[in-house]
């Protein structure tokens, strides 16, 4: 796919919806998410807990339990229909075409295998080759993610590494088979602040060097500003605003994005209150008929409660779903 036309999106997600069906209720975890991702681009999915960020990622990788998760919409990656993949094609798609970095490096590595065994298993699964070749490649990967003395660390068990090193090993594992798309599910949330920056810088550098498209899930606006080309803000399962990172974070169009930005801690004096958004997110089992943010929105109009706003494009390359945003 590398030789394709550069402007053509690598990933095309159209109207993706994920419902979790249980006997008692249906949870609308993701509703009608639409976005594109160009080769080499970094998209940040931004939103609070339970807004559907992680579910969107898992849907892209088909990791959701097939019985309970009802997925609708269309996901195309490099011309292939992801939602139709089955069996072997699905298994080589996972890990080979798309790779994922998990939030908790502590639990995402199997404690009974060494780092090297993890890497070699994935390499040999996707690329084949002898054990010696796989080991050599594994050491290269550990070197690539800047793990010091990789020849020795390759035989370390996960518990013998620090959190930062473990997350680096996790990144190496994700990169082991040269994916076109990297999904990162809050990869820095579980790390110390100092290590967070190191891992972010590393991810950004690797992403540039290897030219991977990346979807990065976070609830940290600072992280988004650091790493993203574009951001998509999610609220109650919907993408409510999407656009280039600088524009969205400097001049948010949606009142929710504006509220998020206003509630961050920056240069205020210590005695000043932080502007919080009143209320709490809606119950995903019973979404309001209109805009799901309207009950908390200071700028809500009567029309807001009638129907969810359609995507509008008030400025080129920016999408927002809010009646208020139309006249900029």
């Amino acid at each position: 796919m590398d030789g394709g036309i550069a402007s053509l999106p690598l990933l095309h997600v159209d109207g993706l919806s994920v419902d979790f069906v249980t006997r008692e209720a249906t949870v609308h975890a993701v509703s009608d998410a639409t976005f594109n991702l160009k080769p080499g681009e970094v998209l940040c999915l931004l939103g609070e807990s339970g807004s559907g960020k992680s579910v969107t990622l898992r849907a892209l990788m088909r990791l959701l339990p097939e019985k309970r998760a009802r997925i609708a919409g269309k996901v195309t990656l490099g011309g292939r229909d992801v939602l139709a993949l089955q069996g072997n094609a699905l298994r080589s798609f996972r890990g080979g075409t798309v790779a994922m970095i998990f939030q908790e490096p502590m639990t995402a590595l199997d404690p009974v295998y060494t780092i090297g065994q993890h890497l070699m298993e994935a390499i040999r699964r996707h690329k084949g080759g002898s054990r010696a070749e796989a080991r050599k490649r594994a050491i290269e990967l550990l070197d690539l993610v800047k793990i010091p003395s990789p020849e020795r660390r390759i035989d370390a068990y996960p518990h013998e590494l620090s959190g930062g090193l473990r997350q680096r090993a996790m990144i190496a594992l994700a990169l082991s088979c040269g994916p076109q798309l990297l999904l990162a599910d809050e990869p820095t949330t579980a790390l110390d602040a100092t290590v967070q920056i190191q891992v972010l810088v590393l991810l950004r550098r690797l992403q540039k060097e290897l030219g991977m498209s990346t979807i990065f899930v976070t609830h940290d606006l600072g992280v988004a500003a650091e790493i993203a080309d574009r951001v998509a803000v999610m609220y109650a399962g919907r993408i409510i605003e999407e656009g280039p990172v600088d524009d969205v974070l400097r001049a948010p169009l949606h009142p929710y994005t504006a509220g998020l930005l206003a509630s961050t801690v920056h240069d205020q004096s210590p005695d000043q209150d932080i502007a919080a958004i009143p209320g709490s997110p809606p119950d995903l089992r019973r979404l309001p008929p209109g805009c799901s943010f309207a009950p908390r929105c200071a700028k809500a109009l009567p029309a807001c409660n009638d129907g969810f706003p359609h995507p509008t494009y008030p400025v080129a390359d920016r999408m927002v779903r809010c009646w208020r945003a139309l006249p900029l």
Binding site: R94, G96, D110, P111, V112, T114, E121, A156
Partner: protein, 302 residues
Amino acid sequence: MSDQAILSAPGAAAEYDSAPATKVRGYWQSVAYRLSHDWITLIFGAVVLVIILIAVFAPLLAPFDPYAQSIVGRLKPMGWRGHPLGTDELGRDMLSRLIYGGRISLIMGLAPVAIAVMIGGTLGVIGGFAGKVANTAIMRTMDVFYAFPSILLAVAISGAMGGGIFNGIISLSLVFIPAMCRVAETATSQVKNLDYIEAARASGAGTFAIIRHHVLGNVLGPVFIYASSLVSVSILLASGLSFLGLGVQPPEPDWGLMLSTLRQSIYVDPLGCAMPGIAIFITSICFNLVSDGVRAAMDVRI
């Protein structure tokens, strides 16, 4: 000490970024290290080894034929006519019978546990990893067996099938399978929902590969530890069955059976009567303590 040597091996220049070289020894090496410093386990492990060796080389070690009876030499004390531990109620050499009895006791201790690990472990992993229906079917069936006290279940099955070593092994296996299954199921369902299973799936592993590498790798530890603690239980239960006449049949030399037949002469020869009991006690406590020591060294919680 040797770790220090490895650290400073390549060049004297301090490697700043490799300072915390955490790689010291692998898992099994550290288990071996901990075991080598645990004297109690080592001593009892040596006793277990001796018992096993005695059982294996029984024909070479036994001074007399364990079946040879003597009507004049019944219930003789230690040292009588070259019988180191005396004779039993039919004039057979006590030491030889104890030595040969060890063979049967070890078989009865190990075989049912091995069978239970294979069958119960497999069922448990399937039950833990598969969906709700398979889990319910397997685990509720096991619960039915659980409802009986183990000795009662063993007695009932042996009684229904008749005596003999083979039937004894089968009945004890059936007693252990539910417990083994429960341990494997618990360990599997704990592992199943951890991130690394999802991570393995995310890197393209199929269900079979996930079970083989990630589930078994994490489940075998607790299963093995639990199995080792069952060996002594199995020896005790087997002796109990033989004592009740449901296990090994006369004239086979079995500790439980010997205990049962010598019981009648307890007022005549209390020491001789106690000997098979002492053998059972030593063997089962040694297996128990070794199992405890290995568990501590492997640091696996059941």
